[in-house]
């Protein structure tokens, strides 16, 4: 077989591919930031001494862990807009609704998984850490934010890196609702050029490069933690 990358890297196709790469990266970064922040909030709520709060968080996690990601994206893109008031639907539709709904579905799903990882990180901490914060006069939420969650995130770092990789790869599912991310634009280039190996080799290279970058960031954060802990 003869490989010809020139055929898929003409100015127009290169532009599509770069557009797809930028969209994938934007989808990942925005949903990651929202997922991480929501996970921290979920853990703080779920660890509070109120049964109702714990059940609400457990329900949220169960929904997102037990239904396929693609179904969740469809629910947000096709079903939720029917529940919104008409003016809001129009506004969302004129503002890249595919991207927005896919991002919401992705970040909520990742938040559920990340909150479980942070929760197990939290359980690995000595209970006296909460007591030490409260004894200084810090509130429950202040102690969570400044004392417990930073340590829980460090303890859960390897698992959180895994979730980040899963989230990054799951961004490709957004093509199903028409988000022009990397998988979608690659498919388009492949459709036009019939250069299947070349286009998906480029897409794979993109995914593997960003995945390695995520892993390298995780390893860097881990080294920094170990140094701080005196190792």
């Amino acid at each position: 077989m003869h490989l010809d990358f020139g055929a898929v890297l003409t100015p127009q196709y290169a532009h599509w591919i770069l557009w797809g790469a930028a969209t994938s990266a934007a989808l990942f970064l925005s949903s990651w930031v929202l997922a991480f922040a929501s996970a921290a909030v979920l853990v703080a709520i779920g660890s509070a001494p109120f049964r109702g709060a714990r059940w609400a968080v457990a329900g949220f996690v169960a929904y997102h862990r037990n239904i396929p990601m693609l179904v969740q994206i469809f629910v947000w893109y096709f079903a939720v807009p029917q529940l919104l008031p008409e003016p809001l639907t129009r506004w969302v539709n004129s503002h890249n609704s595919e991207f927005i709904f896919a991002m919401i579905a992705l970040f909520l799903n990742a938040a559920a998984y990340m909150s479980e990882d942070m929760r197990s990180g939290l359980r690995a901490l000595p209970p006296a850490q909460m007591e030490a914060g409260r004894a200084l006069g810090l509130s429950y939420l202040q102690t969570m934010r400044d004392v417990l969650l930073p340590q829980a995130v460090r303890a859960a770092l390897p698992a959180l890196v895994n979730q980040s990789l899963s989230l990054f790869k799951a961004t490709s599912l957004a093509m199903a609702v028409g988000v022009a991310e990397m998988t979608y634009t690659s498919r388009q280039v492949e459709n036009e050029t019939y250069r299947t190996f070349e286009t998906f080799a480029i897409a794979s290279l993109f995914y593997v490069t960003l995945s390695f970058a995520i892993m390298a960031l995780g390893a860097w954060a881990d080294r920094r933690n170990l140094r701080a802990a005196g190792h």
Binding site: P126, A132, R134, D146, A228
Partner: protein
């Protein structure tokens, strides 16, 4: 300053504090001792509401601290508490450990908080460790940081829960030195400790507890030389031979 009035505490069916009536005056240093499980840690933990009580009343400067109108965070910010296991925050530098509560609870600006923290660390002899992380410090150093962290809120009263029990013997002295210095400055202190030397040198009073009840209160020299209650006599003889 602190008044215990008929305090009762239960853990399920276990009667942890029995009819405790005690008064700690401002500037007083009180040592609480007794065999393990006697309720002495529980007693000081009720003072900042780390433990609820089921009966009686604890008042600080006349305020019923277990009453419904008390803001527990505000209350605790005026009571320094030092734990047996130090419980420093391992992910924060030594200075940050000391700065956290003043910055969050008192909204102190970072620069002022750091200056105050460095002054306190200097007081406990650890200014040079300000940017080190707690796991790299010895137990004695960690406990001195924990004392500085509690002092950062400028509490009028300090509670110590067996502050030297988790330390290697050669590290006990440096912590006691800091505590003696605090006592000399007029700090109101309630210390759960078996350090007889400390009690004799700085305590105004020793309270002896067993099985949740206060069995004896005496001046330190009287308590250690002439304990009255039979269980106090046995306790003093036991720690002498330890």
């Amino acid at each position: 300053m602190i008044v215990f009035d008929k305090v009762e505490k239960w853990y399920g069916s276990f009667h942890a504090l029995k009819d405790v009536c005690e008064t700690v005056a401002a500037g007083e240093v009180v040592v609480v001792c007794g065999p393990s499980g006697s309720g002495k840690s529980t007693l000081i933990r009720t003072v900042n509401r780390l433990e609820p009580i089921q009966g009686g009343r604890i008042a600080i400067d006349g305020r019923d601290i277990h009453g419904p109108s008390i803001d527990v965070n505000e209350l605790r910010s005026h009571i320094g508490f030092v734990f047996q296991q130090f419980n420093l925050f391992p992910h924060l530098s030594v200075a940050r450990n000391v700065m956290l509560a003043p910055m969050r609870v008192h909204r102190m600006p970072e620069k002022a908080a750091r200056e105050a923290a460095l002054a306190l660390l200097d007081k406990v002899g650890l200014a040079h460790k300000a940017d080190e992380f707690p796991p790299r410090l010895s137990g004695g150093q960690q406990q001195r940081v924990a004392i500085a962290r509690a002092l950062a809120m400028k509490p009028p009263v300090m509670l110590f829960d067996e502050p030297t029990s988790a330390l290697d013997p050669e590290l006990v002295g440096e912590v006691l030195t800091v505590m003696k210095q605090l006592a000399a400055e007029g700090m109101t202190m309630v210390c759960v400790t078996h350090e007889m030397g400390f009690a004799r040198e700085v305590a105004d009073r020793v309270i002896f507890m067993d099985a949740g009840a206060v069995l004896e209160r005496a001046k330190p020299e009287d308590f250690f030389l002439r304990p009255q209650h039979p269980r106090a006599t046995k306790f003093v003889s036991d720690i002498r031979h330890a």
